[in-house]
Amino acid sequence: MKGKAIVITSGKGGVGKTTTTANLGTALAMLDKKVCLIDADIGLRNLDVVLGLENRIVYDLIDVVEENCRLEQAMIKDKRNPNLFLLPAAQTRDKDAVSEEQMKSLINELKEKMDYILVDSPAGIEQGFRNAIAGVDLGLIVATPEVSSVRDADRIIGLLEAEGLNDPQLLINRLRRDMVGRGDMMNIDDIVEILAIEILGVIPEDENIVISTNKGEPIVLKDKAYSGKAFNNIAKRLEGQDIPLMTIEKESLFNKVKRIVGLS
């Protein structure tokens, strides 16, 4: 097996990297792919919590690189899907406890066992970021439709390319159709034009994501959730399926009429 390693990253914090890693990982596992998620946010781990696996942690990423345990011992099997594994971050160490070389060899080892390795990167551009991008094949940049987030995304695109990780792809998160409709939020085309980068998917703003995070159950497990469907579509696109972007960015007819007659 020769898996593909993808880093989920952003410049700005709190834009949805961890949410994306958990949901995209679960969605890929539901497509019968073997997936390992790595929480590279050392000292601030929370991917385990989003997945509801916080009670199962025995060893972590640092234990693996320091050879306190075997890789298999540290990989936590998801409680719902046998194809999905989590390698949790250490909570009590700092980000310098791992080197880029160690990350690279870990990723290479995992590529032999998995179809996908998704690395949840910490915010910022320091050592934690360098570790998170070591050895990966693709950068997936998460941004929200706001000035500061898009600006920081542009910076990250430059940094990834400087590290030889070319052609990163974009995921726009928390898009609000109502605001786009009345011209108060940048739409997909605006952001893609500014960043000049390929778009992999768009996730709407959805309060169900907060609810599902409260419960530790990824939103992709909910059939009806719109945002869950959007994550499932992204997984299918990664698998090479030609799935058009959902039409959340399009202005609804109702809003358009309201705007034209001057009600909004």
């Binding site: 000035v147 542009d154 009345r182 011209g183 108060d184 939020m185 940048m186 500014i194 705007r259």
Partner: protein
């Protein structure tokens, strides 16, 4: 562009966001502060004035992004002959 102008044209705030972003990214990408940009303009102007008579008042210099490429476009109108 001011808020009022955008609103009177019936546009929301996203166009302001977009314009501000385009401006910010130009500065980020060429790593020049507005201050340094002004200094560069002044120095360039001095060089050009050594050789030709230009009209100080109508000089335009802007960095913009065209398709895939960034370009600095400068416009130095020559002084009218008296």
């Amino acid at each position: 562009m001011s808020d009022d102008k955008a609103e009177s044209r019936g546009e929301g705030s996203k166009n302001i966001a977009k314009e501000r972003l385009q401006f910010i990214l130009v500065q980020d990408r060429i790593k020049l502060s507005p201050q340094q940009m002004e200094e560069m303009k002044a120095e360039l102007l001095d060089v050009i004035k050594k050789y030709i008579d230009v009209d100080d008042n109508d000089i335009e210099m802007d960095i913009s992004r065209e398709e895939e490429m960034m370009a600095m476009i400068a416009n130095f109108p020559l002084k009218k002959r008296d």
